[in-house]
């Protein structure tokens, strides 16, 4: 817990190439796509902030960042 509480998934759409890797490997399946085929957070409630999306996004377009 701790640190993760202050974190949330951030998406940098300009960099997302819509490859779908994060969507596929999100253990909670909380990610999906927007109209342009780019990643979108569909269900932030259920995100466990495991960071697997960040770890495997080849384009640094999704990551856990500090809550603003």
């Amino acid at each position: 817990m701790g640190a993760r509480d202050n974190q949330e998934i951030k998406i940098k759409k300009e960099w997302c190439k819509g490859c779908g890797i994060c969507v596929t490997f999100c253990p909670k399946q909380v990610l999906g796509y927007d109209d342009e085929g780019k990643v979108a957070m569909l269900d932030s409630e259920n995100c466990i902030k495991c960071g697997q999306c960040e770890m495997r996004c080849p384009d640094f377009a999704i990551f856990l960042g500090g809550k603003e």
Partner: protein
């Protein structure tokens, strides 16, 4: 708004990178940055060297002393950098073709000398930059633009080859196993001597499409399912290992004197 690791270690002006959607290279590059961060290295004392290829474009994005050389020659340039200034942490990024086709000789010799360079091979099993020719790691039977009738070459096991040539640290991971990979890179950089981390990457555009491997995510899922750690494999019955590939740490030899250290001791000796 950016990933702080990216902001800290990348040249933001050069991003986004040129790689295709779903290309695994970015995953390795991020893991490398994280490993460097964990080690707390001084950015001014890190030098990243590459050859030519898609993967070899990585240094352009990384905010260190970076050197993009000629095809296959990264380790030869890096050897010069490291020997001339041993206080630099020298990391080589190389594609499977760059490292093991045209660059194979420099790889085995750098390994033989046990010079303190960490080589990370971005192995996508194909020549990406030139559009999909088979490489020394393309599996037998697979297609490439220069293997239209199926590849009859047998693939190298790059990590094992480096080990046989004298590398004192040799490991393999995949872009699926990004956390493990990051740890390996960290270990490799910390290692005193020549270290090799071969990372199985994905090229959905050339290798994937030609060989009907499905989407980038499919290709990564395949890595998840088909690679098992050597330590695990040791305990598995044969039938469970069939069709599986090995990853993990293959070799970790401590105490072998590193090349530039050996050289410095000549200099010291001559001073007397």
């Amino acid at each position: 708004m950016n990933n702080p690791i990216v902001e800290k270690y990348f040249r933001m002006d050069n991003l986004p990178h040129i790689w295709c959607p779903g290309c695994g290279n970015g995953i390795i590059m991020l893991a490398l940055a994280k490993a460097i961060d964990s080690l707390g290295l001084d950015k001014d004392k890190v030098c990243v060297v590459s050859g030519i290829g898609c993967s070899s474009r990585a240094p352009g994005y990384l905010d260190f002393n970076t050197l993009h050389t000629t095809h296959g020659r990264a380790l030869a340039f890096a050897t010069g950098v490291k020997l001339a200034n041993p206080e630099l942490e020298v990391i080589v990024i190389s594609g499977d073709g760059d490292a093991s086709a045209i660059g194979g000789n420099h790889l085995i010799h750098a390994a033989r000398r046990n010079i303190g360079i960490t080589t990370i091979v971005f192995n996508n099993n194909i020549y990406g930059m030139t559009g999909g020719q088979y490489s020394p790691t393309t599996p037998n039977g697979d297609l490439g633009t220069t293997a239209p009738h199926g590849n009859i070459d047998r693939p190298f096991d790059i990590a094992q080859l480096a080990a046989a040539a004298g590398a004192t640290y040799a490991a393999r991971s995949t872009v699926y196993h990004a956390n493990q990979m990051e740890k390996m890179i960290e270990t490799a950089i910390a290692h005193k001597g020549f270290s090799m981390v071969e990372v199985i990457s994905t090229c959905p555009t050339y290798y994937g499409r030609k060989n009907k491997k499905g989407s980038a995510a499919n290709m990564i899922a395949f890595l998840k399912d088909s690679f098992i750690d050597v330590k695990v494999a040791e305990k598995l019955p044969e039938e469970k290992k069939a069709g599986k590939f090995l990853m993990g740490e293959f070799k970790k030899e401590e105490g072998v004197v590193e090349y530039t250290v050996a050289y410095e001791s000549i200099i010291e000796r001559l001073k007397k």
